[in-house]
């Protein structure tokens, strides 16, 4: 049976405004007050995401400056482009062991 087209079906995957899901852990989740945020996302790099996060939540700044960004399962430098639909996680300094 055919299904009714949804908004997602009609928008191309690279459409401006596709939300970007970002997940947070540990002390960073505490500062953000959430484990997951959906940010409006026009496309861009890891550096763009860092700016976006800090602009919206200045309290994140000091910890964010010492954190890595994990894109699609890999730690990514600031110049890496974040593909639409990529899984993005903020990784504050680790303390396992």
């Amino acid at each position: 049976m055919s299904s009714v087209p949804t908004t997602a079906d009609r928008l191309p995957p690279s459409a401006a405004g596709s939300p970007l899901a970002v997940i947070f852990f540990a002390g960073m989740a505490e500062i953000v007050g959430a484990r997951r945020l959906e940010l409006p996302w026009e496309g861009g790099t890891v550096a763009d995401l860092r700016r976006e996060l800090e602009a919206g939540r200045p309290a994140l700044g000091p910890l964010l400056a010492r954190s890595a960004v994990c894109v699609a399962g890999r730690y990514a430098a600031d110049n890496v482009t974040i593909a639409v639909g990529a899984e993005v996680a903020l990784i504050p300094p680790v303390s396992g062991g």
Binding site: I23, F25, A26, G27, E30, T45, V46, L63, A65, R66, S67, A68, V69, C70, V71, A72, G73, R74, Y75, A76, A77, D78, N79, V80, T81, A89, I91, P92, P93, V94, S95, G96, G97
Partner: protein, 166 residues
């Protein structure tokens, strides 16, 4: 595209393939003996097990428990990569890494690393190397609860430079 994880062996490692379950998270007590038994091999002469346990006192600060969380999906892939790299780099017979998540009270183990090798030096060196790698880069965090019940997430150092360039 992001480069491979800096600590993971990128693709075809010359050593054995990682066994399913050799690197994993658990949510209850760690059975160190079982983990050491899992790396036993007829070719091994040296077998090392490290258990990291919650320490009750550091300097004059009392710890009641540690509470661990992880980015599990990414962390397991990194642990498997580290294991594969250690197998090849140190010529190990076997290797396993188990990390506990959730609350770990004083005296209980949060991590077990086991390595076996034909000779003792490689087994020691691999176990120490793996522990340093885990502590440096694998996305696991601990929250300390002190004697008064205050909880503090521990975020030492700086991971900013760790990512590979696009």
């Amino acid at each position: 595209m992001p480069a491979p994880l800096p600590t993971a062996s990128s693709s075809a490692a010359p050593g054995p393939c990682p066994d399913a379950g050799a690197c994993r998270f658990v949510h209850g007590p760690i059975d160190g003996a079982a983990i050491l038994a899992a790396v036993a091999a007829p070719a091994a002469g040296g077998n090392v097990l490290f258990l990291g346990t919650t320490r009750g006192v550091t300097a004059d600060v009392t710890t009641r428990s540690l509470d661990y969380e992880a980015h599990e999906k990414v962390a397991v892939v990194m642990l498997d990569g580290l294991r594969a790299e250690a197998l090849a780099r140190f010529g190990l017979c076997g290797c396993a890494i188990v990390h506990r998540l959730g609350r770990v009270v004083v005296g209980e183990a949060s991590i077990a690393i086991a390595a076996s090798a034909p000779h003792r030096r490689e087994a020691f060196a691999a176990t120490e190397w793996l522990l340093e790698q885990v502590k440096a880069a694998v996305p696991i965090w601990k929250c300390e609860e002190d004697g008064e019940g205050r909880r503090t997430w521990v975020h030492p150092g700086d991971l900013r430079g760790i990512g590979a360039r696009g």
